[in-house]
Symmetry: C2
Subunit: 483 residues, 2 copies
């Protein structure tokens, strides 16, 4: 154990049972560790490169959907830019699904004619025979209500008008399983209230479990309108059309850049985000931000000529959105490193103003992280540790016992589940905040996930934060202790 | 002057120079005036009828654009509902313009192919020969920049990427005059950043001055993207198509309901909102809310069997959005009443949580209003008086010297010009708030101006507020003093 860190832990840890020695009164940290962290923060805040690169990539290539040429071109460009940074890039072959949306619409025919604001759900089948279907609709607000009204579902379109107030984890099941459950009762299609607390006629796509009937999301406004119509006793008839279908899998790749560890190159700190986006989304927030902030960590450490004790590895995954084949392939390729991985950190919950990281792991490890955050990141407000969600791309590693974290951020402009963003802000935003309250879901999987939703400053702040966390962890004398 | 009001003014006015007598120490108001106001407030808060009627109308008839069958059907239905309330309705014939949008699109062809989120501006001409035009684009951020780059405009599409931070009054000129100014330098079309501080790829329409070249609004996101592309030195090429054209004027009508004054039936308090909406908008906030809250004032007073001294008149105007022919016709028909009109109050700045009224008129009148607000509406937070904008439909009356007011409201969920809604809320929202900070412009002239953006409670609150203001003014012993 490096002396500085041992001292830091002994001094700062006042509430953990890991190290039973009595802490001293004054925090004491070695100058070099603090100097490195400060140098990283200064360097991060002195460049707009992350914002500019996200803007260039999203403007130039557009949505980067798995299986698309745009994704491959964006990956080529990213690799070239990484090499311009003096980094050497490893490409990791991944086969990804290729789902094609095609043309689609949902049109209310009765009680009046109106185009619905819809977007087909990813991996859904299309309408049978490439023709539109016309059917009566039944609106339910839960699976329970669907079950109760089972006898009324046959031949109908089921509309899940589920308020997002319950949060993503409690409502996303209607997107993923809604079609299957409706099909079980004989429905011909499923429409689901977009997974968002708020919209401006904004439909949100996302993956659904493949089943025999097509499904799509509709805007919050249209979903509620259909519910009102049903409540008035009006018969709802909808015309629905989707050309969606699967092609054969296509080759793609994860991109990996790293700084080799000076002392323990085989031990790694892994972090990353994903390069792919939905086919309707520029994916600036979800997740060019996470991917490019991870790359920026490596660029910063390289530029500063810092050499962490352990290897720092940024992984830019593909196919997080509809298959997670990039994560699966990475895990298969690096399974043997599980025990040598100190932590895996994902940034896929937005790259707004960072507050810290959420963490899943042992109390001992958590305590160490809290000390790092307090010592090096409290000054810029992003040194907090909370227990929250863990992203898709690192979950195979987390399942294998690797300590896991996620970057936690907050969009100060918008959003909370309570429909009152200001409630969040009149109270201290941390530690209650989670990514459901960050504005993240206002943009998630939509056409409005564009670079202007981020700011150069926020991205600098995220890069500084992720760099200090990962660099500090990589410099520990030990791998983060596991449960 | 009614004794109670004289006393109220003497007692409450401590800072005005209108009445130089020294105020007494204790506020003293006649029981009946306060009882009436409380009864109105109680009645307003005991019914969801305004919300339900807006929901029914918008769900059933959709957008109510001038010249459309939907508007006429909505007017028929409204008239019938008014009669069910026991009110007698006067219809006032108005000829309105009939502008037809037709199909339209804007497509970026270079530096990449991308559909732009656009909506044609109302009253614009279409593209020549009902064909799409393809042209290079030039992005400017002001008329000044346009002038500076005049020699570069010939044959191009001018894109006005004007940030809304400057507010509606400073930016709307790009919507109304942008095409004309661009045409003067030989442009073939004009695109303008939507008039909003925020969007989710939401284009906002609105009227433009008719000129020889077509014009449309694009989303905030797309506008900024084009500016970034130009800043990178990329050549921007856009394909643009609009079928927009004018038909001959069509007949429509204002709807008027009133409570005749018990003592001075020829003297009136006029208030209202507009029934028409843009062709893409349900117009729940703009302005079914204002129109139906005005109707609700009359319903409440009628239901409570109150008889104000002067006539209370709700006017539901048509064609506010693209011509203001309803306002013009009302003024022509009632010009002779200008001197007998105590005040004209419009509700067309949203029907969110009401804060009070803005006022344009004499200091003496303002002082009286402040006393009314303080005495009868402070308890529900909507008794404030500020000096702010005055709506389109009452402006002919205001120009003729009638004291004028507007209902001021605030959407607690969203928005401010500073992009930080919470700033507004951490400070006392009044009197700095204006309708530019109320969230109003998030929905203004868009497909997302739907009834779910309002709440039954907000509409009750608006009705209570407008009813107490208008009833109290109608009960004054005098017409509001003019400058």
């Amino acid at each position: 154990m490096a002396l500085w860190l041992l001292v830091a832990i002994l001094v700062l840890v006042t509430h953990t049972q890991v190290l039973p020695r009595r802490p001293e009164a004054t925090p004491l940290l070695p100058p070099q560790a603090k100097d490195d962290a400060d140098a990283i923060i200064d360097a991060a805040f002195s460049s707009d490169i992350v914002y500019e690169r996200i803007a260039y990539m999203t403007d130039t290539f557009g949505p980067r959907f798995s299986g698309s040429d745009a994704l491959e071109k964006a990956l080529d460009w990213t690799r070239e830019e990484m090499e311009k940074d003096g980094l050497s890039v490893v490409e990791e072959h991944v086969m990804v699904p290729s789902w094609v949306r095609g043309r689609e619409f949902a049109r209310l025919l009765s009680p009046r004619v109106k185009e619905l604001h819809m977007v087909g759900l990813g991996m859904s089948v299309g309408t049978p025979g490439k023709k539109s279907l016309v059917a009566k609709a039944i609106v339910v607000s839960s699976f329970q209500e669907l079950d109760q009204r089972a006898s009324d579902v046959q031949g109908k379109i089921v509309v899940y008008n589920v308020n997002f107030d319950q949060g993503y984890s409690n409502t996303v099941k209607y997107r993923t399983l809604g079609a299957t459950r409706a099909e079980n009762y004989g429905a011909v299609a499923a429409l689901v209230h977009s997974m968002t607390p708020y919209g401006l006629q904004t439909p949100h796509t996302g993956a659904t479990r493949t089943t025999g009937i097509p499904s799509a999301a509709i805007s919050v406004e249209d979903s509620r309108m259909l519910a009102r119509m049903q409540a008035r006793g009006q018969e709802i008839v909808i015309e629905f059309y989707m050309e969606a279908h699967m092609l054969t899998d296509k080759p793609s790749r994860n991109l990996i850049v790293e700084i080799k560890g000076a002392e323990k190159p085989d031990e790694v700190v892994v972090f990353g985000g994903h390069m792919d986006s939905w086919d309707i989304a520029d994916g600036a927030m979800d997740d060019a931000g996470g991917a490019f902030v991870s790359w920026e960590v490596v660029r910063l450490i390289h530029q500063l000529k810092l050499r962490p004790r352990r290897t720092l590895r940024a992984v830019l995954f593909v196919n997080e959105e509809n298959g997670a084949k990039g994560a699966e392939q990475y895990y298969l390729n690096h399974k043997h490193e599980s025990k040598l991985t100190s932590i895996a950190i994902e940034s896929d919950e937005g790259t707004f103003t960072p507050l810290g990281i959420s963490f899943q792991g042992s109390a001992a490890a958590r305590s160490i992280l809290e000390q790092i955050g307090k010592a090096f990141l409290a000054g810029i407000g992003s040194g907090n540790v909370s227990g929250q969600s863990i992203g898709t791309d690192i979950s195979p590693m987390c399942d294998a016992g690797v300590p896991c974290g996620s970057l936690v951020t907050l969009d100060p402009r918008v959003g909370s589940l309570s429909n009152n963003p200001c409630k969040t802000f009149s109270n201290p935003p941390y530690p209650d905040v989670n990514f459901g309250t960050s504005g993240y879901f206002w943009y998630h999987h939509t056409q409005s996930d564009t670079v202007d939703k981020l700011s150069p400053r926020q991205l600098q702040h995220c890069a500084a934060t992720l760099a200090v966390w990962t660099y500090s962890i990589a410099n520990l004398d030990f791998l983060l202790p596991r449960s």
